[in-house]
Symmetry: C2
Subunit: 166 residues, 2 copies
DNA sequence: TTTCAATATTTCATTTATCAGATAAAATTG
DNA sequence: CAATTTTATCTGATAAATGAAATATTGAAA
């Protein structure tokens, strides 16, 4: 006989209700918001999503290293590096070598970049309003606080799974 | 004179606190969860993220058309079509032409696919637990309800911006 | 029925994202 | 101080996501 059929009864796992499964909800909504940002926002300013994010981060945090930029929004470092190179070429930001640590380069927005940042901020504020308009102020607050916790937790999980193997 | 400098005072927009800005938070967390799913889950089963999602949807909803699969998790239809073609070739799911409407093909999991689905469900349950372990049951409930509302809202926004132009 | 618009799926071209080195400058250790 | 490790950045190959046709089929309207 080729195989026992009685062994290891493959008892079905009860499926997941994807509409009420938080990780799925977060992936779906995060992805949708990203697509919105590209199609309605970034593209109209001649930017891709990575560039759009870089400008936001530098506009918000001020002079930053490339790693600081990448880490703030959990972006790939290689990609961030390239996005910054493009924005530099286009005169949207400037890079200065750090005298204290010559591995680093420090990134600032040029006036052109600041103008773009202002456009982005306006878009982003309006967008948030549109997205959240149905929620009470209380719900928004609660949601935002919970998200802060979860992001921290996700960071810890990434750290965990990088110590054993990587 | 080249340009007036007094006109159009470029008053700085006050920057955004990205750590407390919900759209940014959602993008960051959604992206991180997706990367987790790929690195810790899908890849170990020989799947990419699109395939992983397809199996979840079909495992949960049962026999579905390709559009139903794509729509449930807001995936690209082209990508979904290809993912399904690959899974079909590998014997993970099967496709049947719909007799009532020959444009459609109906997708089911094979036993091999059901086994994969079970693995995915186990991973996903454990992952959610790990991610949410610090939240009270009340917070989880609240969060999940709020997310349901927001996803609906995001759908409405997508619909809006598709009627005028597209 | 013929024609036209809508739907489901597929395919293709292109852009983005991701990962794994490579390089170079600190920081640390013996 | 030499040797080693860590950190910051960059680059290139590869994989994945996206958007715009192309195809086939259905349903509706004239």
């Amino acid at each position: 006989m080729a195989k026992r059929k009685t062994k290891k009864a493959p008892r079905r796992e009860t499926p997941i209700d994807l509409d009420r499964h938080l990780p799925a909800q977060l992936m779906v909504l995060g992805g949708t918001i990203g697509r919105h940002a590209v199609r309605e926002g970034a593209r109209k300013l001649g930017l891709d999503l990575m560039e759009w994010r870089v400008i936001q981060v530098v506009g918000t945090q001020g002079r930053s290293t490339i790693n600081q930029v990448a880490d703030r929004l959990a972006m790939d470092r290689g990609g961030t590096s390239r996005a910054i190179a493009r924005l530099d070429e286009r005169g949207i930001l400037s890079r200065t070598a750090d005298a204290k640590d010559r591995r680093r380069s420090l990134v600032d927005l040029t006036p052109k970049g600041q103008a773009l940042h202002d456009d982005i901020v306006r878009f982003v504020r309006a967008y948030r309003e549109r997205l959240l308009r149905r929620l009470s102020a209380k719900d928004r607050d609660q949601l935002q606080r919970t998200m802060t916790n979860l992001i921290e937790e996700a960071g810890a999980m990434l750290a965990e799974c990088w110590s054993p193997e990587h």
